[in-house]
Structure formats: C-alpha cells, structure tokens
Assembly symmetry: C2
Homo-oligomer: 168 residues x 2
C-alpha cells in the first residue's frame, strides 16, 4: 500500500490550521488579559525586513488553499489581505480550513503527475503535483506557521508545541 496525495495534503493542512487558530486565540486572550493593544502583536516581527504576524498568517493560509486548489486543477481563490484584528485573522484561518476540507480524495488523488503552473514575480514555472506539494507547499506552509508561533512566543504568549501540532 502507499499514501494517497490527498492523505499527504488536505488533512495535513487542516491539522496545521487548527493549531494556528488555537495559537491565535491564545494570543488574543493574552493581549486582552494583559491589556496590550492587539495590534502590537499583529504587527510584531522578528526582524525589520521580516513579515509581521498578520502577514505570516495570511501567507500560511495561502500555502494551504493555493496548493489544494492547484492540485485539484483549479485556480486558487484570491482573498483580500486586509485583516486588522485577531478575530478577522482567526476567521481567515477557519475559512482556509473549511476550504481545504471541501476537497475530497476524488479531487486530489491522481494529481501526482499533474503539471502545476506557478507564476511568481512575473516568472512562470511548471512543476509536477507531487514535487509541488512536498518541496514547496508543505515546507512553506510550516515555515509561516512556525514563524507566526515564534513571533508570539518571542512576545511572551504562552503557547506550546501541542498547540502548534493541532493537538489541543
């Protein structure tokens, strides 16, 4: 037996997004409990030329909905990157989780060899579905998920590895 492409993608993103939503909820509660302006966390970054939390979360969700749509041979929906509150940001994560959950095995399996066309900064590249998932989508998804987590930990929010793993 072997893994299906669906098993290696949709539930993986769903679990990570669950973890991201938990971490963001704890951050919002932390800001409220401490009397912090939530924007101080939303705009926090680890270095001046790194993206702030809000953008890390937007990109993380994009690396879930984008790959799932593309593997299914569809154009990913464009979402406005206009969240300014934790409530809106958590809603975006939940929307991404619902989007991902709507794609069953019938729409994803068999895309291993599908050509995925990516356009980035005007440059077009074509990559096979399986390579796209394993070498681009998943590493980028976890990169932005972990960076969001790291920004919050760095700012004293008490989140743990189990939250990140979607186990809480």
């Amino acid at each position: 037996m072997s893994l299906t492409l669906h098993q290696a993608s949709a539930p993986v993103f769903a679990k990570g997004l669950k973890g991201l939503a938990t971490v963001l909820r704890k951050a919002a509660a932390h800001a409220e409990a401490k009397g912090f302006d939530p924007a101080a966390l939303l705009q926090a970054r680890l270095f001046p030329d790194m993206f702030p939390l809000v953008r890390q979360v937007q990109i993380c969700t994009d690396f879930a909905k984008g790959p799932i749509a593309r593997l299914a041979g569809e154009e990913p929906p464009a979402w406005n990157d206009d969240e300014t509150t934790f409530e809106q940001l958590i809603a975006r994560v939940e929307k991404a989780a619902a989007f991902v959950a709507a794609f069953g095995p019938d729409r994803i399996d068999g895309a291993e060899d599908r050509d995925i066309t990516l356009v980035r900064r005007g440059e077009t590249s074509v990559v096979k579905g399986q390579t796209y998932l394993l070498e681009q989508a998943i590493p980028n998804f976890y990169f932005h998920l972990t960076t969001a987590y790291a920004i919050l930990r760095h700012n004293g929010v008490e989140v743990g590895k189990k939250d990140y793993l979607g186990l809480t």
Copy 2:
C-alpha cells in the same frame, strides 16, 4: 498512482537538512565577518524558556534520523548532544543527511501500517507509520528547522527562504 512512504520522508528530510546546513554555514560566516563570538548565536533563543539554536538544530536532526529509522523498523541511533561550535553542528546535520540517504525505498515503503512505538517522558504510545510521519515527524522537523532559521534571522544573519528550502 500514489506517493510512496519513502518519497514522502527521506528526500523531504534530506532537502530540509541541506537547507539547515546552508543556514548554519551562513551564520558561522556572519559571526566571523562581524567578529561576533559564535557562541552568542549558538546560545541565542527567542524567549527564555525556548531552546537555543544549538538545541533546535539537534532536535531537528533527531526528527529526521529518528523517524527514518523507526519507519524502517530500527532503533534510532543515539547521538551525544554535545556540539559547541558551528563546525560540529554542521557536521551533525551532514551526518543526519547521510543517515537518511542510506535508507532506500526498500527499507521504508510498506511502513504505512507498521506500529511505531514511541516512549516520551516515560509514556509509551503506539501509532501507525503513516500517521507518525505526517502528524508528528514532519511537523516537528519543520518546527525546529524554522525556529533555528528564525533565531538566526532575529539576530541579523542574512539568510533567505531559498536557503531554508534547500534551493541554494
């Protein structure tokens, strides 16, 4: 067609470890160019109760060698966690990459349903190979890889996403 368990594991870890080695090499060069004590970076952490860089790298490599060995039905080798220099840390990453590369499809494929027994803090749990890989090994591997990257970026080391992705 579908993914094999080997495709979803060994080359994924190998690419991430390549990225980690690149990031560590750039960090060592940065410390030397700036005249920093390398230990300041090796012991840097994002929050007092988070692990420092050296430990993040050790754990990241453990989440490559451990899962690969366990999927193959073997006991993971125990390595001393005694690195104190970038040179030693990079050697550990390269050793992990070589370890992972030694496991071909014949040793990994078919482990989807293999019972993997994990002992953590005295508690024993048993999980299927596929679940172990997708829900524990890979998310933890990227967590520590990204956190190592984040610690270095936070300290001004000029590394980029392409380094992380193992593309440089």
